[in-house]
Symmetry: C2
Subunit: 430 residues, 2 copies
């Protein structure tokens, strides 16, 4: 008995859509969106897709028509009734009604704005311009679409059983990681892999595998749709775009120096507990913490997203001690370039010294390294960033100069304002 | 959209039947059955299940009620209209109407006879008694049921994703074999793994993987149902039960000495071409070939099913030369204890000297070694053999004394009659 209805239903799609829901996105995007909707709703921003791995020539791999179809499909998406009910009714981070009625009403009527697409030098130039709370919601689906179209381009030539074996190998690979992680005492790990996932179905599989394989050690997923469907926690707080846009809008060096703290002051108004997580590396962690107001030291934790993660955590621990806080009561969230070895190493190093949790991204949801000829499915470093706000360029310095962004003169100015000295360059894999 | 109809259909079964078709059996069983139906229809035989791997305590693993339900279900099976059409209409080994109308009519009305089941010392004693053409059709489904119930017993404790990863690993393992076999020049390999398969679905998957992965190097499957569904050749000729029963029926030593040749004389009447394959090892290959009539040397090939396979093939080649035949025109079929290494080794050794093909069994359809704790899914050596005919015990000597069967005095008599000297014992894994 074939499921004729399902097959007919599937054939009705002109395309096989990659993103089928507005909440197939990172949960922190929605938290930030609500914050932006309240505090900076009229700011006009430009987001731009940047492929840091030039050797992966996306425009040669991916058909422009297919890409446009996928992006156009995303523009047709509306928040569904069930999704809205979930966002309105669910408890997030222990809090009911995390999303305010005015925000929900706006979100229920939202359609994503238009995009601008061009080819240049074997890459796609994909940009989004408009009001910040709308444009920012393009980031994750745009990345997910390009990542999955690239996967599909590579998979197209494969036979049915070759494909099945490919996924069998990828499953085996992930399960071996699960079996190692199961042995890590006190582990707390979440899926942060939406943006650079191999595909939606694969991310969904990975999350389910972690639910069964890690039990309580698995804390949830950043993907809001998967959190809803698989009934696990939606995880995430805030990201670089907030300080980047706030900083771009600053009218003077003094305002610029204050901007990253203003972001967190606004956040402080809205959130408490485990949502009070500092992301200190946008313009250098050392200087950020040195100049931070005391109330920030009372926040719950710090997320380490660039630079050497162990050093970043040591810096955070020293800072808490200097401010009279007990690091053992604090949380360090590692979220940059993690794989099992690094998770094991960091867990062992910080056990008993600070609470630790992990946001495991690309190497969870897209580790197809070594599984096809020419390693054509290896993950690559694709980002989608705010590049300007109200006509002014944004800047990111990060704790790794290879992750820095922005015009050279502005980068120099930011380095001066934020007192960033020498930094150690680290290879950016994903 | 869940496939409600399929789910409801599946829930209608009180059991999940392992064998759902009378042609879910080895093709050679049907060929032999037709031959027996014509030549020895009234012979009464007893078939008995024997687990040579005593450490696998089947009666502790498998619930007797479940086993009875599966066996009872097999007794309810009848040849379906489509299956009958396939057997009547398909071309087997290049021949139309391989199955004669009188045989088909009998088969269409066949229900398998009753069974006798007891527990003893942690094992099941399962026997079948009755007319040879009916009882012989129990062998393969009985083995398949016990093999799959054992698999199910081990799998029962596993979680959903653990299970999926188990199959992912098994698929990966098989595909690595396929990738190695693909490089073997001139390879011809068939699936002979029905009787000791992990499960029906797994065998079906393996066959489909070989179709895609090996292309023309894959010649077909011994499983008649899978051959029909996957539209590949049904493969197989004849087995030890023919000389064993013919020999048991012999009234004197002289008749006994002639019995194995009488089997092939009857076969010669019915079949030609690639179905004329000698299985010489029932009472020792050396003596069988030495005493064989000249017309047998003109048969197409020899199947090597025990003893050292390379030595067996060398013996065959020497015999053909002695009888004035060109071995390069002859076929050697290896079918005992094969895995990739052995297939590679034998292919290399005999390339250009004789035509070679492989009947790959247990290590194709049941290689779960090393995939679960305690190796609880490792294949084991289960057989189902004719143990008596018209009240007289059967005997098998084989080229490996560890595969010998029968009462000691009869074994001694057969050794004397067939002039079997010293034999080298080889471990029987499967």
């Amino acid at each position: 008995m074939a499921d004729i209805a399902t097959r007919v239903y599937n054939h009705k799609w002109k395309i096989d859509p990659i993103v089928r829901s507005l909440i197939d996105t990172d949960f922190y995007k929605l938290l930030m969106c609500q914050s932006v909707f309240r505090n900076r709703a009229d700011t006009r921003v430009t987001f731009s897709l940047i492929n840091r791995t030039k050797s992966v020539r996306l425009a040669d791999l991916i058909d422009e028509g297919e890409l446009r179809e996928q992006l156009d499909h995303i523009r047709t998406l509306r928040l569904s009734r069930g999704e809205s009910t979930f966002l309105r009714g669910n408890t997030f981070y222990g809090k009911r009604q995390m999303f305010r009625p005015d925000f929900m009403e706006w979100f229920e009527n939202l359609a994503l704005p238009d995009y601008h697409l061009e080819k240049r030098d074997g890459q796609y130039e994909l940009t989004f311009e408009g009001r910040w709370p709308e444009v920012m919601l393009w980031e994750i689906p745009a990345l997910a679409v390009l990542m999955e179209l690239r996967s599909r381009a590579v998979l197209r030539a494969m036979g049915r059983f070759e494909l099945q074996v490919l996924y069998a190998r990828a499953m085996t690979k992930l399960w071996e990681k699960v079996e190692r992680l199961r042995r890590v005492e006190g582990l707390r790990v979440a899926d942060f892999g939406t943006r650079r996932r191999h595909s939606f179905l694969w991310q969904d599989w990975c999350v389910q595998a972690l639910i069964e394989g890690l039990g309580d050690k698995f804390t949830g997923t950043s993907n809001c749709l998967i959190a809803m469907r698989r009934e696990v926690e939606a995880i995430g707080t805030n990201a670089h775009e907030l300080p980047m846009v706030y900083s771009a809008l600053a009218r003077s060096d003094e305002e610029l120096a204050r901007a990253p703290y203003q972001v967190l002051a606004d956040w402080h108004e809205e959130h408490d507990g485990n949502l009070r997580i500092i992301l200190p590396d946008t313009y250098g962690t050392e200087g950020f913490l040195r100049r931070a107001p005391d109330w920030l030291a009372r926040w719950t934790g710090i997320r380490i997203d660039s630079g050497d993660p162990a050093e970043g955590a040591e810096t955070a621990i020293r800072w808490w001690r200097d401010r009279g806080e007990d690091p053992r009561e604090k949380l360090v969230i590692f979220s940059d370039g993690l794989d099992v070895e690094k998770i094991e190493e960091l867990s062992a190093r910080f056990a008993g010294r600070v609470k630790v949790s992990f946001g495991w991204g690309t190497m969870l949801t897209n580790d197809f390294r070594g599984l096809v000829a020419g390693d054509a499915l290896a993950p690559f470093s694709l980002v989608c960033k705010a590049v300007s706000a109200d006509g002014r360029p944004t800047v990111k310095l990060s704790d790794n100069p290879n992750k820095a962004m922005g015009p050279a003169d502005e980068v120099a100015r930011y380095k001066r304002v934020f007192g960033v000295g020498n930094q150690v360059a680290r290879e950016v894999v994903v």
